[in-house]
């Protein structure tokens, strides 16, 4: 089987700091893969490399076998990679409807009428549970709602792969359950492959079929949650080794 999203020896440094060192990964159709690692291990940097915000300096990223690592962020989005942000970034001074419309306009399709696009945007809002909020300003939403709005905006771009950067951070236990349901719905109903950075371990270990672990910019482990959890290198990375 060919991977939907693949990274081959992706490297990125900032000044003298090696933020990513030859990281390779593969995501297959319909999968949900977790990306974990201690703070500063390069998780968000990898997402930024995939989405073209800070393109990789070496190595390649392929979507459906086509290289995307030399493209600009908006082109990568149009190719089919959507994302949310660790610190939510909805368009605060725009309404929920307008936020989602941006994602639809971003697809740059010809031939859809304004009404059709509004219709689509409303159904995305409905999907993430913001049905009645279309005319509220994004800035006035709760954190959970802002996260859902970001998801709706990302979904509106019709991604094949969705990168989720700590969607659960800052949510209370009942909100976490809601968000988990949503992520599962996106994977199953929308047939989106998900790459997911998370610090809430319990959640990511139960939701993901496969976990990739980064430490200091390198991939140190990969496999099913149970295997990763008992991997001595992973434990050392999180708890600190003998020399730390």
């Amino acid at each position: 089987m060919k991977p939907v999203l693949e990274g081959r020896d992706v490297s990125r440094s900032f000044g003298g700091l090696m933020a990513l060192h030859r990281v390779s990964f593969q995501l297959f159709e319909g999968e949900i893969v977790g990306l974990i690692g201690p703070n500063g291990s390069g998780k968000t940097t990898l997402f930024n490399a995939i989405t073209g915000v800070f393109p990789p300096q070496e190595g390649e990223i392929l979507l459906d076998g086509k290289p995307v690592s030399r493209l600009k962020p908006f082109q990568i989005c149009r190719m089919g990679i959507g994302r949310t942000f660790q610190i939510v970034r909805p368009f605060l001074k725009m309404t929920c409807l307008e936020n989602v419309l941006v994602g639809i306009v971003g697809r740059d399709e010809k031939g859809t009428s304004r009404e059709e696009r509004v219709e689509q945007a409303l159904s995305e809002l409905e999907f993430v549970g913001l049905g009645g909020q279309s005319h509220r300003l994004a800035g006035s939403l709760t954190l959970l709602q802002k996260k859902m709005l970001e998801l709706a905006r990302a979904l509106a771009t019709r991604p094949r792969v969705l990168l989720l950067d700590e969607v659960l951070a800052g949510l209370n236990p009942s909100e976490i359950l809601q968000a988990l349901d949503m992520i599962e719905a996106i994977r199953v109903k929308r047939k989106v492959t998900i790459f997911w950075v998370e610090h809430v371990m319990g959640a990511i270990m139960t939701a993901c079929q496969r976990i990739i672990v980064l430490d200091q910019g390198r991939k140190i482990a990969e496999g099913p949650p149970d295997e990763v959890r008992s991997n001595p290198r992973v434990i050392e990375a999180y708890l600190g080794g003998a020399d730390a």
């Binding site: 989405t51 600009k72 908006f74 989005c77 368009f91 605060l92 941006v102 306009v105 771009t157």
Partner: protein, 301 residues
């Protein structure tokens, strides 16, 4: 309610020439020029967050292009103004293409430089522009009438505002605001941010060229004051005091400040200083300007 309000404003605007004497009619015409200037500057500064200092310079491009075509080439002002608008747009596209990628302060500095270069060229190319003496150019109408000019300015300004409104309500306008709100989020949502900002800059520059061309043919004397930084800061103050990023703000700011500056004209150039200070205070304490303050008071009641 809103429709009735607009109709009322429109009616007043049409009746204006029948109530104002020649002097105040002149002020009204000039304020329409500033409505176009401040609104189109708001398009880039208020809606995509790029502070350009070349807006008055582009008005100068429009005024001098059209004026010199009429004077040396016998071209009709209507065609000349169109040529000036296009040239301002093309220059905007070139200048924007050079510096828009760098964004932020670099755009401001480059446009500031461009503005000064243009003013210096116009001042020194005396055989063509007559420098600071100014260039006498023909008017739009064969018979001079302020009422005619008023209606011409009013018609163009209204068409201009309708066009801007449509642009802002279109997908392009949505993209403008997305870029202003969060450039990174916009780019990862599929918006070509460089193209969007370049489009805003180009269309805004062309609009300044149009306003400048009209202005020149109304005054029938064009001087390097049109593309001066003093003029630029007046436009900036109008947009900021009126309310940047709102549609009505720059319109209200332009009319209010133009009429006000007639009253404080006796203080000479100090009125610019005063407007600058007020704009600073507003930018610091009421960033959404008079329109924003008004909305706040309205909501509290």
């Amino acid at each position: 309610m809103k429709r009735a309000g607009l109709a009322g404003v429109f009616l007043i605007a049409i009746l204006v020439p029948f109530f104002l004497n020649q002097y105040w009619l002149h002020v009204a015409i000039i304020s329409l020029f500033y409505v176009m200037m401040a609104s189109s500057w708001n398009l880039i500064a208020g809606y995509t967050g790029q502070v350009s200092f070349a807006h008055a310079a582009f008005a100068g491009v429009g005024a001098y292009t059209s004026g010199m075509l009429a004077l040396y080439g016998g071209v009709h002002p209507a065609l000349g103004i169109i040529a000036g608008t296009l040239l301002a747009g093309v220059l905007g596209l070139g200048l924007g293409g050079l510096c828009i990628r760098m964004g932020g302060i670099y755009l401001s500095l480059t446009t500031l430089g461009f503005s000064e270069i243009l003013r210096i060229i116009i001042t020194n190319e005396e055989q063509w522009t007559r420098g600071t003496m100014g260039l006498q150019i023909p008017g739009v109408f064969s018979v001079y009438s302020k009422t005619h000019y008023y209606f011409l300015f009013l018609a163009v300004t209204l068409a201009f505002l309708v066009l801007m409104r449509r642009l802002l309500n279109s997908d392009t306008g949505l993209a403008f605001r997305a870029v202003l709100n969060d450039e990174l989020a916009a780019s990862t949502s599929g918006i070509d941010t460089v193209r969007v900002r370049l489009m805003a800059f180009t269309s805004s520059s062309a609009m300044a060229g149009l306003a400048g061309g009209l202005y020149g043919h109304y005054l029938m004397l064009i001087t390097p004051d049109i593309p001066s930084l003093g003029q630029m800061f007046l436009v900036l103050a109008m947009a900021v005091i009126g309310g940047m990023g709102s549609f009505a703000g720059p319109i209200i700011g332009a009319i209010a400040l133009e009429f006000l500056s007639e009253y404080i004209r006796i203080y000479g150039e100090y009125h610019l200083l005063l407007f600058g200070l007020v704009a600073l205070v507003i930018a610091r304490f009421a960033p959404s300007g008079m329109v924003g303050l008004w909305e706040k008071i309205w909501r509290r009641r």
